[in-house]
């Protein structure tokens, strides 16, 4: 289980996260939507302390960390209970696809190299990237790099995978293959929190959609409810805006 309690993050005195409280059950798929600059990415980055929150508490599995007195060891434990997928993939440029996936198992979990590579091969198979095992990131397309990025997160066998706009940096032609892989993980009930602008994905895959604005959770609920009968004016305004930007046949699917 993941629990975030009264999480606060300020940049130059501005509260980017203004007391976020959120509980996520094991196997739950959460999609976070909202206008740009409302703290969605900051929320994810505070959950694993890539950004140090200014207040509140984060719990992932059996690790519970108070932001105001988080020790280095606690932060490390928290990060080892979670995995992160970055918007710009952030693959290790000096490692092959296989090594990118195996790296954490070797360095963090202390697995022997052969065992880690064996597991990495299994993951490559699952993400359909077996032929690219020995390719370096520079030789891969954006979509392929992001699939490896997801594979790296899968290898950690973390309680939760945090996805920070995983398709936003991709050329349109690569978006589907990444979303398909994420759907596959959702079917396997991998707990995930996804920040995305892909409304169709949110509708199809999420158990719960969270709408954030101004550093707060404005509204949340199952996609069927949130997309068809939003309660808050701000949610309605946001959805009207983004759904008008997508082709009508998609919007009609509400």
């Amino acid at each position: 289980m993941i629990a975030v309690r009264k999480l606060v993050k300020k940049f130059d005195g501005n509260a980017v996260l203004d007391g976020i409280t959120l509980e996520v059950e094991q196997g739950e798929i959460i999609v976070v939507i909202g206008p740009s600059g409302t703290g969605k990415s900051t929320l994810l980055r505070c959950i694993n302390f890539l950004e140090q929150p200014d207040g509140g508490e984060v719990q992932i599995g059996d690790v519970r960390v108070d932001a105001t007195r988080a020790s280095r060891a606690e932060i490390l434990a928290l990060r080892r209970n979670s995995a992160f997928v970055f918007q710009n993939y952030a693959l290790f440029a000096n490692k092959t696809a296989l090594e990118n996936i195996a790296e954490g198992l070797i360095v963090v979990n202390g697995w022997p190299k052969a065992k880690a590579h064996q597991r990495a091969r299994e993951i490559l198979e699952r993400i359909g990237m077996s032929e690219k095992a020995d390719a370096y990131p520079a030789a891969l397309s954006g979509g392929q790099q992001q699939r490896i990025g997801i594979g790296r997160a899968m290898a950690a066998q973390a309680e939760v995978i945090l996805f920070d706009e995983p398709t936003s940096a991709l050329d349109p032609e690569w978006v589907d293959e990444v979303l398909e892989l994420m759907k596959q993980l959702a079917v396997e009930r991998q707990t995930m929190i996804v920040v995305t602008h892909e409304m169709q994905f949110a509708r199809d895959v999420a158990d719960r959609v969270i709408f954030m604005e101004g550093g707060r959770i404005v509204e949340q609920g199952p996609p069927s409810q949130l997309f068809s009968a939003p309660k808050d004016d701000r949610t309605r305004a946001f959805l009207r805006k983004v759904l008008n930007e997508v082709p009508p046949q998609c919007a009609a699917g509400i």
Partner: protein, 224 residues
């Protein structure tokens, strides 16, 4: 111009080659030690390790701010007067020590710049899978920084090879010292010093070959 004594020049070669290993030994031990020290200094600077960071800044400032020759004299002639345990230090050791400290200061700054140049998101990715700062440095950042810093570091190695000639001022008979002795007894200064210049030159050119090979290898991961 009088005629050059070609026979004398060729005769010098075997003498010089006898002292070449010492020159190479000082340069390569100095280089390896300087690389290790410079990497540590650079990591201290990048991670802003408390206290050590301040000491590192002073260290780098001193060894970049004073001439190598002064530093060598300080180690060899100066320090033993105030620190008696150093009386045993011989010229070769003093040279290696001086080269190491001097060049590590320069190399630390190159390595630091290369580290800072590694894409920040890879650092975050390494942290996100639970690596410690040292693990991410060793496994992810330093190997990539090495590629960026390699050409500059090779230049320092070239410089270091040539700087071993200063050992002769500490009474070490290495390539330069041996040449100096030969010249002093034959009075054929031009022949002697042009020969030693050629030997250094050939050595450095040989190194350039190695450098090209190394850069190709380091760039392997980045070809599309």
């Amino acid at each position: 111009m009088d005629t050059l004594n070609i026979d004398y020049m060729l005769g010098l070669l075997p003498v010089m080659l006898k002292y070449l290993p010492l020159t190479l030994k000082m340069a390569s031990i100095g280089m390896i030690a300087a690389l290790i020290l410079a990497s540590l200094l650079a990591v201290v600077r990048v991670l802003k390790v408390p206290v050590l960071n301040a000491l590192t800044i002073v260290f780098i400032s001193f060894f970049r701010g004073t001439p190598l020759l002064v530093q060598l004299f300080l180690f060899y002639y100066g320090l033993p007067q105030v620190m008696s345990f150093l009386t045993q230090i011989d010229g070769v050791t003093a040279t290696i020590l001086g080269l190491t400290l001097h060049f590590s200061a320069y190399m630390a700054e190159s390595i630091r710049a290369a580290i800072v140049g590694v894409d920040r998101s890879q650092t975050e990715a390494a942290l996100s899978i639970g690596m410690t700062n040292l693990q991410l440095m060793r496994r992810i950042v330093l190997p990539q920084a090495a590629r960026v810093a390699a050409p500059t570091l090779m230049n320092y190695f070239v410089d270091m090879i040539k700087s071993t000639s200063l050992a002769f001022t500490l009474g070490v008979t290495e390539l330069m010292g041996a040449t100096q002795k030969e010249a002093a007894s034959s009075f054929l200064y031009f022949e002697s010093f042009i020969m030693v210049a050629i030997v250094y030159w050939v050595m450095v050119e040989g190194l350039s070959f190695v450098q090209r090979w190394m850069e190709k290898r380091l760039n392997r991961a980045y070809q599309r």
